[in-house]
């Protein structure tokens, strides 16, 4: 019961945040809505027992990735969104398509809802368990991911640096 209540409360916050993300015109508001979604998702993870995932969700997503978003919004001084009409396809074809697909999936899932239930914190994902799995069974993907991150860092640096940037000719040089 407690589980269901908590699920519904934080699920509602989640959905509200997601819808607010769509409704807000200013990117900062959208970003904060997304932070809310992520934070409440972390709670949902906790309900499922994935406490390490929840902590990392907060630290990495809410604490780092979204800060980066906010930083970029501030850096580019992005204003409120202009409502240009660039694409009819997106509105006419895409949105109904998404809604139809989502409804279909939801219908199917809810129809089969009796097949599986989970208890509160049924699979406690302690850091030790996750770490053991990560460094034994998933060692190769882990290493490959580290290479991916390295490449991403270099890519980001190259992309964001101005092509005509000169080295700062200050006191050091």
């Amino acid at each position: 019961m407690l589980h269901l209540v908590l699920f519904l409360v934080f699920g509602a916050i989640c959905v509200a945040g997601a819808i607010n993300l769509l409704a807000q015109t200013h990117p900062i508001s959208s970003a904060l809505s997304l932070v809310v979604v992520m934070a409440s998702l972390a709670v949902e993870y906790l309900l499922l027992g994935a406490e390490f995932v929840a902590a990392v969700q907060v630290i990495v997503y809410a604490g780092a990735v979204m800060v980066l978003f906010v930083f970029v919004i501030m850096l580019l001084n992005a204003g409120a969104e202009e409502r240009t009409k660039g694409s009819h396809v997106a509105l006419v074809l895409g949105v109904p398509g998404v809604l139809a697909g989502g409804l279909l999936v939801a219908w199917v899932l809810l129809k089969r809802s009796e097949t599986g239930r989970v208890a509160l914190g049924s699979l406690p994902g302690y850091p030790k368990t996750i770490g053991t799995l990560l460094f034994h069974e998933f060692l190769l993907p882990f290493e490959v991911t580290s290479i991916l991150v390295l490449i991403a860092i270099m890519g980001a640096v190259v992309l964001a640096s101005r092509p005509d940037a000169k080295t700062p000719s200050g006191k050091e040089s």
């Binding site: 900062i28 904060l32 932070v35 934070a39 406490e51 390490f52 902590a55 990392v56 907060v58 630290i59 809410a62 604490g63 780092a64 800060v67 980066l68 906010v70 930083f71 919004i73 501030m74 850096l75 001084n77 302690y126 850091p127 700062p168």
Partner: protein
């Protein structure tokens, strides 16, 4: 095992008590800073209100409360109001998982001196402090002023950067102690090397380097000198809180000092052995002494904070970033690797 009722009662009492103590500590940390810096600069600091100016924080608090709450017309109001709240709430929340001492035996119940003991306590602190960045960043952005914006930009970039070094410096300790639970980390530091050196993490292996990295990162995370660029008075007027006044300003102020205390607590717990120290005397004293040692260590750490403030100049922004990414970050990685190798070697013996 505590019953739910007693658990709730104890929790509420502990929460109120801790927040009261924390706010008081914040107030007197400010007094301490003014006093210490004053003496360092060959002046007296606050002396007029109460003996040694001990009532000065109270007077300041009253002043903040009574001042007109000015909201400039050009700000983005919802966030302008929300930003200081985010800052102060995050600062106060992180204290929840910090243990102050061993369990206190009251009426047959063993009440742990800690609001809540989660086994990923350290991660909670990291998560909450990382959320705290939003307070500063949003304050800077919503003020709609170029000084504030620059302050907010600097704050978010600086804090995200140094959070990495901060986290990496802690990983060494985590490897040594093998737990995320702050209580277990403290317990792993009990005992002595060769009978007289306390078995604190700071003395263990290469963790002194980790402590140094943590110290640097902590100064940057709390926007303190020498890394106080987001609020540098001389260049950005006051950075992200230029447009703030009265209680909203006080909230940022409180958040900053509360954060200082939090990082001091974490440093004490992780590197300085927490509440461990010589225990002697009657049982009551034995029960209280750990907390005393804990507070004493925090005091030392805070004193170093103030000492640094009184002696070091401010870094330039590119120096700050270069220091973080090109010196601290590789150092932290190296420390991590060396620690891991040592632990692996010891466990293989």
């Amino acid at each position: 095992m505590l019953s739910l009722r007693i658990f709730i009662i104890a929790s509420v009492i502990k929460t109120v008590l801790v927040i009261f103590i924390l706010l008081t500590a914040v107030a007197y940390t400010v007094w301490l800073e003014r006093k210490v810096v004053g003496h360092m600069q060959n002046r007296w600091g606050p002396t007029r209100v109460g003996p040694f100016g001990l009532l000065q924080p109270l007077a300041d608090g009253v002043k903040f409360l009574l001042k007109e709450d000015l909201t400039p017309p050009h700000v983005y109001k919802p966030l302008f109001i929300a930003a200081p709240m985010i800052a102060v709430i995050c600062a106060l929340t992180s204290i929840a998982v910090i243990p102050f001492g061993t369990a206190l035996p009251i009426r047959g119940y063993s009440i742990p001196l800690q609001i809540t003991d989660v086994n990923i306590g350290l991660l909670v602190i990291l998560g909450v402090t990382s959320i705290g960045v939003y307070g500063v960043a949003l304050a800077g952005w919503s003020s709609n002023s170029k000084y504030s914006l620059l302050g907010g930009l600097r704050a978010s970039a600086q804090m995200v950067s140094y959070e990495i070094c901060l986290g990496l410096s802690l990983v060494g300790v985590l490897i040594v102690s093998g737990s995320f639970s702050l209580r277990e980390i403290v317990q792993s530091q009990g005992g002595h090397f060769w009978g007289f050196i306390p078995k604190w993490n700071i003395f263990y292996g290469g963790q002194f380097i980790a402590f140094f990295i943590y110290l640097m990162s902590a100064y940057a995370e709390t926007n303190r000198i020498p890394f106080d660029l987001p609020e540098a008075e001389t260049e950005l007027v006051a950075g992200y809180h230029t447009e703030y006044s009265a209680m909203k300003f006080a909230m940022f102020f409180m958040a900053e000092y509360a954060n200082m205390i939090t990082v001091a607590c974490v440093a004490t717990l992780l590197f300085l052995g927490g509440w461990s120290g010589p225990l002697f005397g009657p049982p009551l004293l034995v029960a209280i002494l750990p907390t005393f040692w804990f507070v004493a260590k925090i005091f030392v750490f805070l004193f170093i904070y103030i000492w640094v403030r009184g002696t070091l100049p401010r870094f330039r922004y590119d120096q700050l970033m270069a220091f973080g990414w090109k010196f601290l970050f590789p150092l932290a990685i190296a420390n991590l690797v060396v620690t891991a190798l040592i632990v692996a070697y010891r466990s293989s013996l």
